[in-house]
Symmetry: C2
């Protein structure tokens, strides 16, 4: 089949269930897969703090960078320590959804699920948008094509992920390591050069500054509310910290320990880089600009504009940002699969595709994230206000769930755990409130609306599945009923081999009642059909129904109602001769009438529709289930063995 | 059904075959339906002659208008007399397609068919675009929305036509009469006022003139080639003259005579108006303009700008132009139906919709014309070069066919007919050559490419139908064969009521061999499925097939191959339990696996697929063809009556 061939080429060969264990990741690759998102956020979080403050404070905004960043790092420490507890308590994987489900009940767990799905989607959009910004900072010629570039990158990442999880690790780990090295070099060398007086603060770009301050020189100054908004923007740096807790199963044994070590490393790298960038910016004083990120400006200054080190810096930034979306791609389908397994999302999301990844979830995520990128013009600053709501809602529910977990189970050292997660829950609750209040009108209202709607959708789907399952349940001891069986063969205006085959098939079912039926548009046609039927003398009675309005469906349905009224059989099987030709475009030339009738009959109770296909080959031969000769002419069938 | 209700509301009640005769048109309505296109072309043909000449000759181009127009009118007289012969020779309707088919053979008739279909499509696009130009000439605020307006008009006309032919006549005849009256008034009063010296030539609009001449004052002057191109543009005024010959069947009896009278009137009105407009333009000397048609400029001058007469002139011009597309809407589906009846187009185009019109053809025409309008930005001048090729090819084939007809049949006065049609054939052949040569690079290459491709498509479709019909043919005397019948029931991981019903249905078919089959992803699941089957003890053997790659289709297909190899039955019926729920969005939550398997099995030879539906109602009850109890528990079935 050519479809399979294309699928193989793009996605690689299928993997069996047994191969799944071998797909597990060593720590050094897991750091690449699960920490990319968290570490990559250092590339835009600092800038987004300035985006909030510069319009009100101008260049003075730089003075707030270090304190706000330290506050974010403090929050990071609390959250990392909290999640460390989760990794040990839920070695089989304990994302916010599972922890809430086990400890807080269904409704909170569904809120957590919806929050995480929204969060993963925004991770993809924001990371890709920021990655494109890193590219256009370095290559001015590409400015104006941000949306196209972002969509192309999403398609690329989606294909990478459809190929499967280990290949993803191999592909994505190197950029993470290069990025961490380059950023460390930037911060260390930059600070060294400013300390030795080798590097002076950058000149103010007055044109760009005026763009953000509206040209005002007397600025309103920074209010407490504005600081809250700036902190909310910086807090998105924590995005991705929870990814590991959802993916414990993907680590090599001992999973919990390996995951915990990876989590601590992630937190340490993220915290150091984020602080370092803030301190360096405080020294170098880059001007916020529409065209170039502050990181690119600092890279220019520290490494010397356009040199190889600057190019590697921008390239690895673009790479890690674009690919950080991969964290979401590792977790979104996994989480959807778990939710679908609980019956809250469509079952097909729970089917592992044949590359051991949850292909349907990957497709849904790509479409949603692509939509956001297009809708918000691939602008990081426009997407950021939507971003943090889902993230911190999930954090809060996870920590609250861990508090209940410790209280319920009282395992060794539960009191320490309770304190750690209690502090985590309080801190993240507070931050969620700050984000909602300070960003609501700027876009936070969107997830505030979408998350409850998703919860309602989950509950609706679950209710539907539960209703259907209850209705369909049977117990052992049930006997197969006997059936009164009526068979109706639908015959067109002309008797051809397909009709003969359908009639032979119908007779072989040995029904209690067997008639053929034909639809005529006028009396002439009805007579021609009846005469032809008599000539063929096939020993099956034909009913001709009248259709003055030249429709097929309604006369056939009325005929079936009359049959039902005459003869109370349990089931009516409508047999339709169907032509099957070699190519889909040939198929368009046939069976258009039958197609609509089949759809209509599917919804008629007590009715089974059977197409008896006749396969017409290109050379004009017919292959069909029913040979056109009698059984006596053929060799005797073998007995079943 | 809500679908029917909406259809009724938009399209009116269905009409029976008997009512078809009453739908025939009296002459005064037929003139509205079939002549609108021909007469309406007076609204743009004169302007399009100037579009060719002004860039080379400036205001001097006006001097060529009257001679070129008289040449076009001479051609018109030849073509009208030729077609008059056709109406009498083919009283059952004799378009170019039928005349060529009867006299010239299949290939020329298919060229005629393709030419006419292309021509009708362009008639719709050009008329609608010119109608929009008449509107934006009067209402400057609408300029810039030409494409949107044109598409909206096409949708409107399509809906009008789906309502049926007589309503179309009622709707469309009045604007034709108003337009003819207004144009006559414009020409007569305008010439009277210039003759009496009451009206002076219009001042030259130098800005617009410079737009067309490129600001050159030394112009190249008019070459013979350019005059050919200008004549080719003017010749589109003949579009629509052939419409009546395709639609003789729509006239009241005596059809031929009524059609011939209507044709002569059409020719007379068209010729007089076209000549009159050229003479008036020669006197008033309007400047070709991007923003306002020359007719609108002359209306302004003659009736006084913005007055009620000017407004009626523009409104009726817009109305007749927009609605002239209706001529094509009356003929395109009719011709498609005839071609489809001959097996050269898909059969569904031959189905009369339930408003006695050929609904599918209307849809195809609307989509094609809408595409052209969008693709060419609703510009008449861009569409004109594509227009005339199909038109004059069809004219030529029709006249050539009539020459053969006279020669072949030698009916009374055949010599006169032969001369008339011979002159017609020569003239139209010459014009076709002129059009092809003078307009080829400007767009005439498009129909030159599309027409042969359509002919190939027609032949491909015909070959396909012929092959299938030959393969399917049977003669009386054939006996229904006996069938060795294997039935396989596909069972999911859980036995539910749908499975019980499918098994009961399968057993009622009394097959020679009956097995159930289930697909397991791993050994655990396989064991669980087998244990469950033993508990239910249903007396039908179950085969469990292994699917390490978590696919359904391939393991099932391999299983069927093994069954076929073991047991040479004639037909394998695969029975699939299918859940049917109330709403389509609920349906998305079920049967996704079965859907793909059914598509795959359709193409497997010797295989019949049967879905046994279980209808789950909203309140959680199941309705199904098979009652879950045994026959003994139910009242006895009545006998067939």
């Amino acid at each position: 089949m050519p479809y399979s061939a294309v699928k193989r080429l793009l996605l690689g060969r299928p993997l069996s269930s047994r191969e799944f264990e071998q797909q597990r990741l060593p720590k050094r690759l897991a750091l690449g897969v699960f920490s990319t998102d968290a570490i990559a956020s250092t590339a835009f979080a600092t800038q987004e703090i300035l985006v909030v403050l510069v319009p009100a404070a101008g260049m003075a905004a730089l003075g707030y960078l270090v304190p706000i960043s330290l506050l974010v790092v403090a929050l990071l420490v609390i959250v990392v320590l909290s999640y460390r507890q989760t990794l040990y308590a839920y070695p089989n994987g304990g994302g916010s959804y599972i922890v809430s489900r086990e400890n807080l009940g269904t409704n909170p767990s569904l809120v957590a699920a919806a929050s995480l799905l929204v969060d993963y989607t925004l991770t993809v959009s924001v990371s890709v948008a920021a990655g494109v910004a890193a590219i256009t900072s370095a290559i001015a010629a590409l400015r104006g094509y941000e949306v196209e570039l972002a969509v192309a990158l999403i398609v690329l990442i989606a294909l990478g992920n459809l190929r499967g999880v280990r290949e993803s690790g191999r592909l994505f780990a190197p950029p993470t390591y290069v990025y961490v090295s380059m950023m460390t070099l930037l911060v260390v060398w930059g600070l060294f050069r400013t300390f030795t007086g080798d590097l002076q603060p950058l000149p103010v770009n007055h044109a760009q500054l005026a763009h953000f301050t509206g040209g005002e020189t007397m600025l309103g100054g920074v209010t407490f509310f504005l600081l809250m908004r700036a902190f909310s923007s910086g807090a998105v740096a924590l995005s991705g910290v929870e990814a590991i807790s959802n993916g414990v199963q993907a680590f090599r044994k001992p999973e919990s320990r390996n995951a915990a070590i990876t989590l601590m490393w992630t937190g340490f790298i993220l915290g150091s880089l984020f602080t370092g960038i803030a301190v360096l910016a405080d020294q170098l004083r880059p001007t916020l600009s529409e065209n170039e990120t502050i990181l690119s400006q600092m890279g220019h200054a520290v490494f010397g504009g356009g040199g190889p080190l600057y190019i590697v810096l921008q390239a690895s930034t673009a790479a890690i940002l674009t690919l950080s979306a991969n964290t979401a791609y590792a977790d979104f389908p996994r989480l959807s699969g778990i939710i679908a397994g609980d019956g809250f999302m469509p079952r097909q999301l729970a089917n592992r595709g044949d590359r051991l990844v949850l292909s349907n979830g990957i497709l849904v995520l790509s479409i949603a994230a692509g939509g956001l990128v297009i809708g918000f013009g691939a602008s990081v600053s426009s997407l950021i206000p939507l971003f943090a709501v889902g993230l911190f809602t999930a954090f809060t529910l996870s920590q609250a769930g861990m508090v209940v977990h410790h209280w319920r189970l009282r395992e060794p050292r539960w009191r320490a755990g309770l304190v750690i997660n209690g502090v985590g829950a309080l801190a993240t609750t507070l931050v969620t409130a700050v984000i909602l209040v300070s960003k609501f009108t700027e876009g936070a209202w969107i997830p505030t609306l979408v998350i409850p709607l998703l919860v309602l959708l989950f509950k609706g789907i679950h209710h539907h599945y539960a209703t259907v399952d209850r209705a369909m349940r049977v117990e052992p001891g049930i006997k197969l009923p006997d059936i009164q069986h009526t068979v109706i063969v639908l015959v067109g205006p002309k008797v051809h081999i397909g009709v003969i085959q359908a009639l032979a098939y119908a007779r072989s079912l040995r029904p209690d009642f067997l008639h053929a039926v034909s639809v005529a548009y006028d009396a002439d046609q009805a007579n021609r059909i009846r005469e032809q039927w008599e000539r063929f003398d096939l020993d099956i009675p034909l009913d001709v129904v009248d259709s003055p309005y030249r429709e097929i469906n309604e006369p056939v349905l009325e005929y079936l109602d009359r049959i039902d009224a005459r003869w109370s059989s349990d089931v009516v099987t409508v047999i339709i001769p169907e032509l099957v030709v070699r190519h889909w475009w040939q198929q368009l030339l046939h069976n258009q009438t039958a197609l609509w009738l089949k759809v209509r009959l599917l919804f008629r109770e007590g009715t089974v529709v059977t197409s008896v296909p006749s396969h017409v080959l290109d050379e004009g031969k017919v292959k069909s289930p029913i040979p056109p000769t009698t059984a006596a002419d053929r060799p005797a069938a073998r007995s079943p063995t």
